[in-house]
């Protein structure tokens, strides 16, 4: 007791070098233990087999760097007297509440920006492509947000429904030649029925158990796609998936007989960018549909029941809510939007294979939802822009891209464990709203 208060006084009057040295020494010890094998040994190809090359100088550099870094960090912390975590949380909550308060305007600004992107960068295919990618993840994030954010069901196999949507569209279009606009709702319905199929036996499980089973389901779908060669062409994937048309107008330079091309109809020069921009607007419309649907359904009894179920399942039962059916609707609707996104993905790529639907995708989508702040629509947009746009931006860093991704995740988890925007606004207000709701604790 005495010693700790003595330390505190020491901190106030200056630097506690001894403590900093001690901590830096411990960190250096950990670094040594870790880097001993990871950095210190390297396998090399030699004649007649593998050889090991030792790099003790690299280990020494790593350990010294960690020691100095930790030492300086501890000193800086003693000096800076950082905000108590409660203060920091309160500050960030105020920021969250402010963002939520301005979200009407922020939403309008984001919408205007999203509409303007292909007009401004109409000659820059790269920007439009990246934006399309980000929007796809925003849509997937919003879809998963229904399941994870609103209903509180941890789904680690969300990508399975994305795959179902993609393969539904690709197979129907390739075998029957139906247009994208007919297949889109079909893919959604198929994905939703897979959601029901999975949900029915599984939704009596909770928390970790549900997570494991959904994880397994995601893998099962991928492995079926990989091995059912006669149906899905397995690892070869499906290619030549038809592109969508604009009210019957094709985006091709020289269309088949009897088909009008987009540039012919509007009497403009053919450009391959037209289709890219068209695809961008499709995913923008689909994403906005998802967002609009979520915002609406939160105000309806079933949406409110999802949120109540996340908070207290027993209380929900005692209010006459059928928990299984309620969860099932959340699961099915979330799956439906993944199905839409999946068929968009198939039509945009023109080629799909099981490679695109591995667990990593599920993890990224889940990361977007969790880091954005569970249940926050604006948060999903921010997280998708940062995670997907950010990794695209750092593409030149090649190897270090994933490192940046990891550091970003750790930073958010340290400073904002409940997500960037974890502030919830009530869905129903009578008369004039009071300012009391701002008291988020």
């Amino acid at each position: 007791m005495r010693t700790s208060s003595g330390n505190a006084i020491g901190v106030n009057s200056g630097f506690d070098f001894l403590a900093a040295l001690k901590e830096a020494g411990m960190a250096a010890g950990v670094a040594l233990a870790l880097s001993f094998t990871i950095i210190g040994m390297r396998t090399t190809g030699q004649q007649g087999g593998l050889g090991v090359e030792f790099r003790w100088n690299a280990v020494a550099i790593a350990v010294v760097l960690v020691f100095i870094g930790r030492f300086l960090l501890v000193l800086w912390r003693q000096r800076a007297k950082p905000l108590a975590s409660a203060d920091r949380d309160r500050m960030m909550d105020r920021v969250g509440a402010m963002v939520q308060h301005w979200s009407k305007y922020l939403g309008a600004a984001l919408f205007a920006g999203a509409v303007a992107i292909p007009l401004i960068w109409s000659d820059n295919r790269y920007v439009v492509d990246v934006s399309t990618l980000v929007l796809t993840y925003i849509m997937l994030g919003w879809g998963l947000n229904i399941v994870v954010g609103l209903a509180g069901l941890l789904d680690l196999g969300y990508v399975a429904f994305y795959a179902v949507g993609a393969y539904s569209y690709a197979l129907i279009a390739l075998h029957f030649g139906w247009s994208f606009w007919i297949c889109l709702p079909l893919a959604g319905i198929l994905a939703a029925s897979f959601g029901v199929l999975l949900g029915f036996p599984v939704l009596r499980l909770r928390g970790d158990y549900l997570a494991i089973v959904t994880l397994g389901f995601g893998e099962i779908i991928r492995i079926i796609l990989l091995n059912w060669y006669s149906f899905t062409k397995g690892p070869d994937g499906l290619s030549g998936i038809p592109r969508p048309s604009f009210f019957g107008l094709e985006f091709t330079r020289s269309p088949d007989d009897g088909v009008t091309a987009f540039h012919e109809f509007f009497n403009i020069e053919y450009s391959s960018v037209h289709r890219v921009i068209f695809l961008y607007y499709i995913i923008l419309a689909l994403a906005l549909l998802t967002n609009f649907f979520t915002l609406r359904i939160r105000k309806l009894p079933v949406g409110r029941a999802w949120e109540a179920l996340r908070e207290d399942e027993i209380a929900c039962r005692s209010l006459g809510i059928n928990p299984t059916n309620t969860k099932l609707t959340a699961f099915a609707i979330g799956a439906m939007f993944a199905g839409f996104a999946g068929s968009f993905f198939a039509t945009r790529q023109g080629f799909i294979s099981p490679e695109s639907f591995n667990f990593g995708e599920s993890a990224v989508i889940l990361a977007i939802v969790v880091l954005g702040g569970m249940g926050s629509q604006v948060g999903v947009v921010l997280a998708a822009v940062v995670l997907i746009g950010g990794t695209e931006l750092f593409r030149e860093l090649a190897l270090y891209r994933m490192l940046a991704f990891g550091i970003l995740m750790v930073a958010i988890m340290v400073w904002r464990p409940r997500g960037l925007l974890a502030h919830r606004e009530p869905t129903l207000l009578l008369g004039s709203a009071t300012e009391r709701t701002g008291g988020d604790r």
Partner: protein, 238 residues
């Protein structure tokens, strides 16, 4: 007319027999209370009536219909509302949203009138309607739990220890409101309480439960006067 009848009900938690053959009747328009010490099985009885856990033996009938083996949400939809142990309000949702959740099984056209009635019974909830329910005081949360239960337009209201952890003044306020709900709306109330004095004062009839069995029953006033009830539940301050 008998609103609720519990006949020879046994309930188990694993191997532990929490209820050992309980018989209870609640008539329409009555306030009936069940008193007993901690761990006597009072809350278990309320939860068994709601089907969670289901009774292992015996029969529970609501308005003449056998509800023993029904799932909870089906029982609730027949007209039983429960203010459960520990209130179980939704802390991150606003007061108004909590009340709306209570109205899940009620026809939507009654929502406005029912809300007005809830606010008349508990005016403090109107002042707090947009506040997150988790920020309410204990008494306000209890009022919210009762109001939420009433929003489903029940025929029978089950209350589990509404006085738990509340200041005497707040307890009196809540019990006065319960009396008013019973008198004005003719609401049938089955009340589980440890606060025997207030409960017996309020109730028309009462039961005493010891170790999963009903040991005494009678009118509220009779039970209050019985020496064994006084000795076990009342003497030593209330």
């Amino acid at each position: 007319m008998t609103m609720l009848s519990v006949a020879g009900v046994h309930t188990f938690y694993g191997n532990i027999e929490a209820l050992r053959g309980v018989d209870i009747e609640v008539g329409e328009g009555e306030i009936v209370t069940l008193i007993g010490a901690n761990g006597a099985g009072k809350s278990t009885l309320l939860m068994t009536i709601c089907g969670n856990p289901a009774a292992a033996r015996g029969q529970i009938a609501f308005a003449g219909e056998n509800i023993t083996a029904m799932p909870t949400f089906e029982i609730v939809r027949r007209g039983i509302a429960q203010s459960p142990e520990g209130r179980r309000i939704f802390p991150r949702m606003s007061v108004l949203e909590n009340l709306q959740m209570g109205a899940t099984t009620a026809p939507p056209e009654h929502f406005g009138a029912d809300l007005e009635q809830a606010f008349t019974l508990f005016p403090i909830l109107k002042a707090r309607k947009d506040q997150r329910a988790g920020t309410l005081s204990g008494g306000e949360q209890q009022m919210l739990a009762i109001a939420r239960a009433l929003m489903s337009r029940p025929r029978l209201l089950l209350l589990d220890e509404p006085s738990l952890g509340l200041a005497p003044l707040v307890v009196r306020q809540i019990f006065d409101t319960l009396k008013r709900i019973n008198a004005e709306q003719g609401m049938t109330i089955f009340l589980v309480e440890q606060n025997a004095y207030h409960a017996l004062k309020l109730a028309h009839r009462g039961y005493v439960m010891v170790n999963g069995r009903i040991t005494l029953s009678g009118s509220g006033a009779d039970l209050l006067a019985m020496p064994e009830v006084r000795a076990a539940y009342l003497e030593g301050g209330h």
